[in-house]
């Protein structure tokens, strides 16, 4: 399962607006996309905004993105891109 670690860089963190963007992005791919905080055990579905918020991933937190499916590589690249660009907030 393709996987990568990225850092949350926007000052507000993975809050409601950013999490909403991630949910919409995840909906563009057939693959299942999972996210966890690198320092915590819980893995959540990137299609659930409330699960994403519950990570409480603030600015500076590292998250692991795990993707499974036939378009996994594209999905992983897209998620890593939106996170590292700070969800367009920086």
């Amino acid at each position: 399962m393709p996987e990568t670690r990225v850092q949350i860089v926007n000052p507000l963190g993975l809050h409601a607006r950013a999490a909403g963007q991630l949910v919409r992005l995840a909906g563009n791919y057939r693959s299942s996309i999972f996210v966890k905080r690198s320092d915590q055990p819980t893995t959540v579905d990137a299609r659930s905004i409330f699960s994403l918020l519950s990570l409480g991933a603030g600015a500076g937190a590292f998250i692991d993105v795990l993707v499974e499916g036939d378009d996994a590589d594209e999905a992983l690249a897209a998620v890593a891109d939106i996170v590292t660009r700070g969800f367009g907030e920086i």
């Binding site: 809050h15 409601a16 918020l53 519950s54 409480g56």
Partner: protein
């Protein structure tokens, strides 16, 4: 099996009643726990409905309440603090047992003063495990009075202040640490009736943006307010507790409560909030308070309370 068919699979729920009603100004909330247990939703008991979600359910009965055997003194403020703090020792013992068995406590009130004992016990349990927890508080009132600002001395108007470390030491010092909750991990939803002293306190604690009042809900919508409340409570590393006063809901839908205020959440807004919280998977306990069967009409508030418990535990429409 469809997604969400059994949200409780592999998890346990510990039902516990805290039939304490002498923190309120009117009698009746002490009957709430038993009414919820007796109520039938779709012809099944509360415990059976929770079990249908896949949870293993253990009903631990009711906590022993140390009832006052005297009327309150005219200037007694807080009222019945001795009896209450003695009862909270029993609450702590019961919740400690439930949490040690890895059960999710589902706490049936009782008036809202019980949150002092219940959240103190839960926060203490997680503190011992090295984890701080958050708190989401649903209520028409801020419950952030202290004896200095309370006009009545009724403790059900003081629990949030006590948990934040303010008020009578018999409440703030429970479990040997204070505060039980840091303001940055605490969100409040549904407020619409605050005393002047409470408003000053919310602003003074720097918590304005953690209070999602009915005005905020009117403007941003319940969905957005709950997103923000979950974000706040999720800053705590250990998950979050939820305490739900049924007077947060509009009296049209929940008339059976002692301190009704018009302009509350609708039936669906209340479910929306708790369905969202269930989706996070981070709720460590759920408490429902101020259900007063003596003031109810055709049992609708009791039945609504039972339905809300199921939403908080992951029941979905489809």
């Amino acid at each position: 099996m469809f997604k969400n068919e059994f949200p409780g699979l592999g998890k346990k729920v510990g039902l516990i009643g805290i039939p304490l009603g002498f923190g309120a100004g009117k009698p009746g909330s002490e009957l709430g726990a038993e009414a919820m247990r007796m109520s039938r939703t779709r012809n099944a008991s509360l415990a059976a409905n929770i079990a249908e979600l896949g949870y293993e359910v253990n009903d631990h009965g009711d906590v022993d309440i140390i009832k006052p055997s005297r009327p309150a003194e005219p200037d007694e403020n807080p009222k019945y603090a001795e009896e209450m703090s003695a009862t909270f020792a029993n609450v702590s013992e019961a919740l400690g047992r439930i949490l040690s068995s890895e059960e999710i406590p589902v706490i049936l009130g009782g008036d809202h003063s019980i949150a002092i004992g219940s959240f103190s016990a839960i926060a203490g349990h997680y503190k011992d495990k090295g984890k701080e927890i958050g708190l989401i508080w649903f209520d028409a009132h801020a419950d952030i009075n202290t004896p200095e600002t309370s006009l009545t001395g009724n403790v059900h108007g003081m629990p949030l202040a006590a948990l934040l470390g303010h008020g009578d030491p018999r409440f703030t010092d429970l479990e040997g640490f204070s505060p039980k909750i840091r303001p940055e991990y605490c969100a409040h939803v549904g407020g619409r009736d605050l005393d002047l002293g409470e408003k000053r306190r919310v602003h003074g604690f720097g918590m304005r943006d953690h209070f999602f009042t009915m005005t905020d809900i009117d403007r941003k919508g319940m969905y957005q307010c709950v997103l923000d409340a979950v974000w706040i409570a999720s800053q705590a590393p250990g998950g979050f507790a939820v305490t739900f006063d049924v007077d947060m809901i509009d009296p049209v839908f929940a008339p059976g409560s002692g301190t009704l205020v018009r302009g509350g959440a609708t039936y669906r807004e209340a479910h929306l909030a708790l369905e969202a919280i269930a989706e996070t998977g981070k709720m460590v306990s759920f408490e429902i308070v101020e259900v007063n069967p003596l003031l109810d009409q055709s049992n609708i508030t009791v039945e609504l309370a039972c339905e809300l418990i199921l939403s908080a535990l992951g029941k979905t429409i489809l």
